[in-house]
Symmetry: C2
Subunit: 421 residues, 2 copies
């Protein structure tokens, strides 16, 4: 079989900067739309941002309504509720998602299921769902992230918990990608320090995982119908990852400890967007695969800065907890990339060997009050087998890892992540 | 008036690599199209590439025809002929442009005038035309560049000579941007050395001009309806420009002198794409403004590697001839950017002062056999006033220059460019 010689790259349009979210009415008027549904969660709705976006529409002859029923960490039930709402009140000509990854991902699912026939499980990744591809184009979707992390505004995937199966899975197709990302750092100024820390670790892992992913040339040659949005590390995703790491080095600690530092907030928002544009094409691997069961099987952890009504390991925190050990294990696949990443994240030092990048990560995680490993969020050695089983289900992600991951490899990484320092 | 805080960024989807052009039939089938017109010029048609692309369509139930009447350096007459052909043989559901900037720009105009009513001059930039904005969406346009230079596959503009007025102008609107760029370095392997040199200087100037352009934050705050695709230098265009310059430093001379060096060809194709993604959002300025009259008023220059039936100063060559003097003059606006550009283009030296970047450019131009200034392509001191008049008409471009350009400034740059070394 020949080696791959082709990579693909896709991205939403972008409007970036303080005040960008004041222009969404005009932007939507460019798509010839009449009725727009703004999709958000109750917490973000309480900030007034979604209502303010909806109120811009009237000046352009566009009718707008707000749906604020998004569940943070969406489930099949919460997706179904949003879809039923949109179907019942539609037809809608466009959607605007205002919020974190949960709102943006819910809007992707709503857009898919109001433009294509069938039901949610028809489109969910196999083996949980039937992995059907949408046959018809979707409506314009404008994504307005209010947390600096997920990169959901750039990606072609939406993630959900399937409650009956206790499994986190997703829907992945190029047509899910938002049409336009409106990134307004002013919307992130009130983000609590704990959220900035967890979401920032998500940015960092997006950049690091796509930078250390299998390169696109290492795969067998694909036929065009086999191409997926995540095609492995390539010269364009590498560039976005490097730039995101450079911004994180300058601003991550400042944004956590000085939330009113507008320059740092702006750089974090830009880093999130850039990392999203990178991993949205290259893919992520082991830390993200591990994060699915770490977040999904939470028992009673309640992090600072998040709603207290349900136990929660926030996505970015869940991703970060096995990152140091994952990158110690992947070091041998590309030492120069791991060392270069350490240099970008903490410039001015000489780095050698597999411990360098984990050391940089642990120093950062301590400084921004990420919990000290899996034990600190409630897992023990007895849970490792369960977590391995959950991580190994994420074969779509593990296919992007730079080394083949066995059950034993995953168990080793998870065990060594129980306590990080 | 407040300063601008917002920048915008748009890009086509991208499929890059050797073999990418074998998959266009499949790619178009994803847009639910039935009839596709392939647009090219006679020289490119003779390579067989456009016909080969058209023949992929049948396997996907798509009817395809080839129009090979594009004029290299398109005119209003050649645009009108292509539009009339497409209207007469349509309706077409999508377009594929295979060729250099001329073919891609012609396809943009055809797409515009077969999806929106009115005539060519309704849409051409004022004051030459009526600068109307298209009201309706355009059809999918797949751009397949066969020369590594113009970046037309990434941009929202098409350029034409208006014969009766002897003026080069264009049409500029976000909707003109191709849907998908298919960049296959294999299509550039037979590009003659003279074309690689001139087109490569175009890449270089795209990167340098957008890197040294006015920054987006230096403008007065725009209302959303005032935003144009070219918004000035910004963090994303800077990144593309830097990366393009790094690739050029590694591969430009090799691609000119060793045309069969596949790695160098691949890096030049990637540099062209990256520079296009940069300047397609930031804009270009003085060298491009000067290039309009330098190319437009040619008398009897016949460059190596190009068709010999008409006198021609190729676009990239025309751009490059005033670049050293333009960047000597813009140095004071941002010394650090000019010196950083010199370092990226010719690493390993210490650079200081306004002569550094011009020196790097002149060394390169001598090595790749670019003519020694305007005199070498047939202009004399007597022509400077004429050239100034032509350059100063390009206010849309000069608005992106980092210093305000008076007639005297332009005359000085042009005079000092008569002989470069």
């Amino acid at each position: 079989m020949d080696r791959e010689t082709v990579f693909t790259y896709g991205a939403p349009g972008l409007k970036f900067g303080v005040g960008a979210s004041d222009e969404i009415g005009f932007d939507l008027s460019q798509y010839d739309v009449r009725r727009v549904l703004v999709i958000t969660d109750p917490g973000v709705a309480a900030t007034g941002h979604p209502q303010r976006v909806a109120e811009q529409m009237a000046a352009f002859g566009i009718e707008a309504a707000v749906y604020d029923g998004v569940h943070v960490e969406p489930t099949d039930a919460s997706f179904e509720a949003a879809i039923a709402h949109a179907r019942g009140t539609g037809p809608w000509d466009a959607y605007v998602a205002v919020g974190g990854g949960s709102s943006i991902d819910t809007a992707k699912a709503v857009n898919l299921l109001t433009t294509n026939d069938g039901e949610l499980m028809d489109y969910v990744n196999a083996p949980v769902g039937r992995a059907r591809a949408p046959k018809r184009p979707l409506k314009p979707l404008v994504a307005v992230p209010t947390t600096t992390g997920t990169g959901a505004e750039s990606t072609t995937i939406c993630v959900l918990d399937v409650l009956a199966l206790k499994v986190k899975t997703g829907i992945s197709h190029a047509r899910l990608r938002p049409t336009l990302a409106v990134v307004d750092p002013a919307l992130t100024l009130t983000q609590p320090a704990g959220v900035t820390a967890a979401a920032g670790m998500d940015i960092l892992c997006h950049a690091l995982e796509s930078y250390t992913a299998r390169t696109y040339t290492s795969y067998d040659r694909k036929a065009p119908e086999q191409r997926v949005p995540y095609c492995g590390a390539n010269p364009i995703s590498d560039m976005w990852s490097e730039q995101a790491m450079t911004l994180l080095a300058a601003s991550f600690r400042r944004a956590v400890h000085h939330g009113d530092d507008e320059e740092a907030r702006g750089q974090m928002a830009l880093a999130a967007t850039m990392a999203g544009l990178g991993f949205g094409n290259a893919g992520v691997h082991i830390p993200h695969a591990n994060a699915y069961p770490i977040a999904g099987r939470v028992r009673d952890f309640h992090p600072d800065g998040y709603p207290t009504d349900e136990p929660l390991v926030p996505h970015g925190m869940a991703v970060s907890l096995t990152a140091p050990e994952a990158f110690r294990w992947t070091f041998e696949s590309s030492p120069e990339r791991h060392l270069r990443a350490a240099s970008l994240l903490s410039p001015g030092h000489e780095y050698v060997g597999p411990d360098a990048l984990p050391g940089v990560l642990v120093d950062l995680m301590r400084d921004i009050a990420i919990p000290n490993g899996l034990a600190a969020v409630g897992y023990g050695a007895d849970d490792v087998d369960d977590l391995v089983e959950g991580a190994m289900k994420q074969q779509r992600l593990l296919a992007t890892a730079p080394r083949e991951v066995t059950d034993e490899d995953a168990a080793g990484i998870l065990e060594r992540s129980l306590e990080l320092w």
